[in-house]
């Protein structure tokens, strides 16, 4: 019969789970050596508790421990952890929102460009933006502010060059691709984390 000596202390302190406690109890009923050991633990506890209740023992030890227990040891890392967690959860939402914003801006600018091409509101934009630039649609807002900043023919010339290259039209497509890639990565990481989660919380 194997002795339960290593578990007796935890049993005495009420630190065993019910199943293990039952096993120790059953063992104590038939093992004289372990019972003697356990009784010695109980006796020692009884003897220790004979000291006056307001024991003057090591007030500094108790104080240090009490202070340590009251310190927000766990709280400190918890707050940024929680923020990170929420940030992590919101990441795809933010990505989609940004993507939607960029797409909406692109559609709006091409709409304005179409209006400009039709001659509507030409007083607003036509004086500054040549038709071919406006037709490229995207980046009109940027173009507008650029024009404001630079002013005059130089800016118009820059925009002509840009729209000639046509790269402005590529930006939303590129952005859509990057967003899709980011969301796919997020899903992959989320899946990996979820798979690990049960092992971590099993502590």
């Amino acid at each position: 019969m194997n002795h339960m000596t290593p578990r007796l202390q935890a049993y005495h302190d009420g630190e065993l789970d019910p199943r293990m406690a039952e096993a120790v109890e059953a063992h104590l009923a038939e093992c004289e050596a372990c019972l003697t050991e356990f009784e010695a633990l109980e006796m020692l506890s009884a003897l220790l508790h004979e000291l006056p209740p307001a024991t003057q023992l090591m007030p500094e030890d108790r104080f240090v421990a009490q202070v340590a227990l009251r310190l927000p040891r766990d709280e400190t890392p918890r707050l940024p952890e929680r923020t990170l967690k929420w940030g992590w959860r919101l990441a795809p939402v933010m990505l989609v929102a940004t993507w939607a914003f960029v797409q909406a801006a692109a559609i709006l600018t091409s709409g304005i460009a179409a209006l400009v091409r039709l001659g509507v509101g030409s007083e607003l934009a036509g004086s500054l933006i040549p038709e071919q630039t406006a037709a490229s649609g995207v980046g009109l807002g940027l173009a507008g502010s650029l024009l404001d900043a630079l002013g005059g023919d130089a800016a118009v010339e820059i925009l002509r060059q840009l729209s000639g290259v046509g790269w402005i039209a590529v930006v939303p497509m590129l952005f859509t691709g990057l967003t899709a890639l980011a969301i796919c990565s997020w899903v992959a990481m989320w899946w990996a984390v979820e798979r690990q989660a049960p092992q971590e919380s099993g502590e």
Binding site: Q9, A10, D13, E15, E39, A40, L41, M43, L44, S45, A46, L47, L48, H49, E50, L51, P52, T55, L57, M58, D61, R62, V64, A65, Q66, A68, L69, R73
Partner: protein, 91 residues
């Protein structure tokens, strides 16, 4: 129901010898605890007098639970040796 009056708070009713004996025992226990190494003593006090769980002690002292158990075990063994003469009396 247990009547509180059935359980004397002190040894007044048992005469001066019993009181002296208990005082001596208490002094021996206190001396034995104070003779423990600081780490084991703190752990023991937190467990026996503060009633903290192993986990709480581990958190308070910033040590693993395994260390709490080994320190407690060591402290209790030393106390048992030091107080061997009083153990039978206490039971």
């Amino acid at each position: 129901m247990v009547d509180v009056d059935d359980h004397p708070l002190s040894d007044d009713r048992r005469g001066p010898e019993a009181g002296a004996e208990q005082r001596e025992r208490a002094a021996a226990v206190q001396a034995a605890i104070l003779a423990l190494p600081a780490a084991g003593r703190t752990t023991l006090i937190l467990r026996e007098y503060e009633g903290l769980s192993y986990r709480d002690i581990a958190e308070a002292l910033d040590i693993p639970i395994g260390t709490v158990m080994s320190r407690l075990n060591y402290a209790r063994r030393r106390l048992r040796n030091a107080l061997a003469g009083y153990m039978e009396v206490a039971s």
